[in-house]
């Protein structure tokens, strides 16, 4: 890397490091009991000792994030390929994708709730009584939560992937076709390698976002188990002020998981052929 570049990005890096360092630093300090709201500071690690509730939260958060990211990646990639292809209805599809992007997650979650809950629109349209309707909202499995994230994130993935493909894919596809490549071979050896970096990056962003997001799981999820952000916020707002360190410990754990996923994705990204 040349030195001029390093100097140019330095202000941004310093600002980010300051914000991250101050925020994370104080979260870590609070999580080990060094900045208590009441009482004297005393080093303690009780928040990090894996209670059953915390383990359940980690499991549920990972389940929600991986399931919704997988669906989003699959749907997003297919949509992107349709968008840059020459099929009919492209405009319509593009309009749908673009319209999904600015819908806030909170609105999305409320709409999914109205659609899928026991006495929601779907159960009424289909004439299924509330008692017989599967517990999609707040049930044992976070179905509605995953559905909401998968829908919103697939639009995001489609947008990012199609943007990276739009300028290059048609020419390559055409060449490959002229050289006699069949549709599957064109997808496997042309479209997929070209799409991989954007797909990987977009999926990583979606995963990390889902892991740290609160409102959808709060609105559509069950009372138990709770994903990490919901658990953290409940402990944070507990009237028991000594629960603060536990809340911060959960927040720090969430950050660590999100950070490792982001780093892994970055490492994978550097390995992809199209990156270089």
């Amino acid at each position: 890397m040349d030195r001029r570049g390093a100097v140019l990005v330095a202000p941004a890096v310093v600002a980010v490091l300051f914000v991250l360092g101050a925020g994370l630093g104080s979260a870590v300090l609070q999580s080990v009991g060094l900045i208590p709201l009441v009482g004297d500071p005393a080093l303690q690690f009780t928040g990090y000792v894996g209670e059953r509730e915390v383990l359940a939260a980690v499991g549920l958060s990972l389940l929600i994030a991986s399931a919704s990211t997988s669906v989003a990646a699959l749907v997003g990639l297919s949509t992107a390929l349709l968008l840059v292809g020459s099929g009919r209805g492209r405009r319509m599809l593009a309009a749908l994708v673009t319209a999904s992007i600015p819908v806030p997650h909170l609105v999305g979650a409320a709409s999914v709730g109205l659609l899928l809950s026991d006495s929601g629109l779907m159960s009424r349209w289909l004439g299924v009584p509330a008692q017989a309707w599967p517990s999609l909202v707040a049930g044992a499995w976070p179905t509605a939560v995953i559905f909401e994230y998968a829908w919103k994130e697939s639009a995001f993935v489609a947008l990012v992937v199609s943007a990276s493909l739009a300028s290059r894919l048609p020419d390559y596809q055409e060449t490959a076709a002229l050289l006699g490549a069949r549709p599957w071979a064109r997808f496997r050896h042309v479209a997929l390698p070209l799409a991989t970096p954007a797909l990987l990056a977009a999926s990583a962003i979606a995963f990390v976002y889902t892991l740290g997001s609160y409102e959808v799981a709060w609105l559509l999820g069950a009372a138990y188990p709770e994903p990490l952000p919901v658990l953290s916020y409940r402990l944070f707002t507990s009237t028991d002020l000594t629960a603060r360190p536990d809340a911060m410990a959960v927040a720090v754990m969430t950050t660590v998981i999100a950070g490792s996923v982001a780093l892994t994705a970055l490492a994978l990204l550097r390995r992809t052929a199209a990156w270089r």
Binding site: L20, A140, A223, T239, D240
Partner: protein, 407 residues
């Protein structure tokens, strides 16, 4: 979003660590006329639970215009949970601010106690409010808030009584005691549930059941100690675990708050709901949300009752205005309008024997509700609230020994 918020909070905290934490329990030495003139022109932000449209309308359309006449602008800030307001105050206090966003909070119980613990309330003012003369100074509901001495740190606003509510069209022979309610639940599986604590209403249901399981409120000491907790709660958790399979969705999940519970009742999925503010039932029936056959279920052994208050945070700059609003909210006129079931229907904290003849006559003229009996009927055999330290302990115990167990 949350991450950004906590990061920002983190920076504020780091930069404020060195700042001295201001003392809060200062006495208010100003005389009332002085307070009134200081209040003129101030803007008071009242942070209150926003889940009750009637309460919101009362504050916006009745209380705020009255405050404006006294020169104070009253701004209502709705919150999903009073804990949000408290957290705001605690963060401001940690940051050493003295011009906080919160001037007045509708509060009681554990939120009040937490604020006292963190020294976050302005104290020594409410006993000096002119309109306090209309309240009974020996009324235990007003001198103690969930076992915590009020000590002039908050002024009373309404009284409330925990009540079970049922649909008389579906339950023709309603149970008369809490034990009979439990039997009824088991005989009619899937038609009852309660909001998951720490929701306010779910939390009081668990406390009410602790009384039942322990053989009456006399057997549960109001002050908290771990030994009594360990002795009394296993039976409660056992009863709730046994009850779970008969609840809505087999007790594997619970409505997250009383709003969600009321929705299930309104949709006809449940035959009973519950509330700590029975006052709102009249309006809910009138507007058709609840069926016309909705009735309050009186229990022989009585139910838990409490009062709620208005507190001023130590970080508020507009405390003179806040005091003026608190005094106004306590006036016989405001208390009477608020008690009207067509307005809000909240039970008054005033002692009617201390009112002037005209004010008393006005109170007597309030219309009766077809759904909710009067406060005197509801509060017969009222059970005292437990000390606030019980509340988080019971909430946490419920999550650990009931919710997590029955999966």
């Amino acid at each position: 979003m949350r991450r950004v918020a906590s990061l920002t909070a983190g920076i504020v905290l780091v930069s404020a660590c060195a700042a001295p934490i201001s003392g809060s329990s200062e006495e208010t030495s100003d005389s009332w006329p002085e307070i009134r003139s200081k209040a003129r022109g101030q803007t008071v932000s009242l942070w209150m639970w926003g889940g009750d449209p009637q309460g919101n309308a009362y504050v916006d359309d009745v209380l705020a215009p009255a405050a404006r006449q006294a020169g104070v602008t009253l701004r209502r800030v709705p919150v999903a949970d009073t804990k949000e307001a408290l957290n705001r105050v605690l963060a401001e206090k940690q940051a050493g601010r003295s011009d906080g966003e919160v001037d007045l909070v509708w509060v009681n119980g554990d939120n009040f106690a937490t604020g006292v613990q963190a020294d976050a309330w302005r104290c020594g003012w409410s006993s000096a409010l002119p309109n306090m003369r209309f309240t009974d100074p020996d009324d235990p509901l007003l001198t103690e808030d969930f076992g915590m001495q009020v000590d002039g740190c908050e002024s009373p606003w309404h009284k409330a009584q925990f009540t079970l509510v049922y649909d008389s069209a579906r339950i023709t022979d309603p149970p008369g005691t809490m034990s009979e309610v439990l039997d009824w639940i088991e005989a009619n599986p899937g038609r009852f549930t309660y909001p998951a604590p720490p929701d306010f209403t779910g939390s009081v249901f668990v406390r009410q059941l602790l009384y039942t399981v322990s053989g009456g409120h006399e057997n549960v000491p109001a002050t908290f100690d771990q030994e009594t907790f360990d002795e009394l709660t296993p039976a409660l958790w056992q009863r709730l675990r046994d009850l779970a399979p008969s609840l809505w969705r087999n007790g594997r999940t619970y409505p997250r708050d009383s709003v969600a519970l009321d929705r299930l009742f309104a949709e006809g999925q449940l035959d009973m709901t519950m509330t700590y503010g029975p006052a709102t039932l009249t309006e809910l029936v009138e507007e058709g949300t609840f069926p016309p056959s909705t009735r309050v279920l009186p229990l022989e052994e009585g139910t838990v009752g409490n009062a709620s208050f208005l507190a001023i945070p130590a970080t508020s700059a507009d405390h003179a205005g806040a005091m003026l609003v608190a005094n106004l909210a306590l006036s016989p006129t405001q208390q009477r309008i608020k008690a009207d079931p067509r307005v809000w229907g909240q039970f008054t904290v005033l002692d009617e024997s201390r009112l002037s003849g005209r004010d008393k006559a006005d109170f007597d003229r309030l219309p009766d509700s077809p759904v909710v009996p009067s406060y005197t009927v509801l509060a017969r055999h009222a059970n005292p609230e437990l000390a606030s330290a019980w509340v988080p302990a019971l909430d946490e115990g419920w999550r650990r020994d009931v919710l997590a167990e029955v999966q």
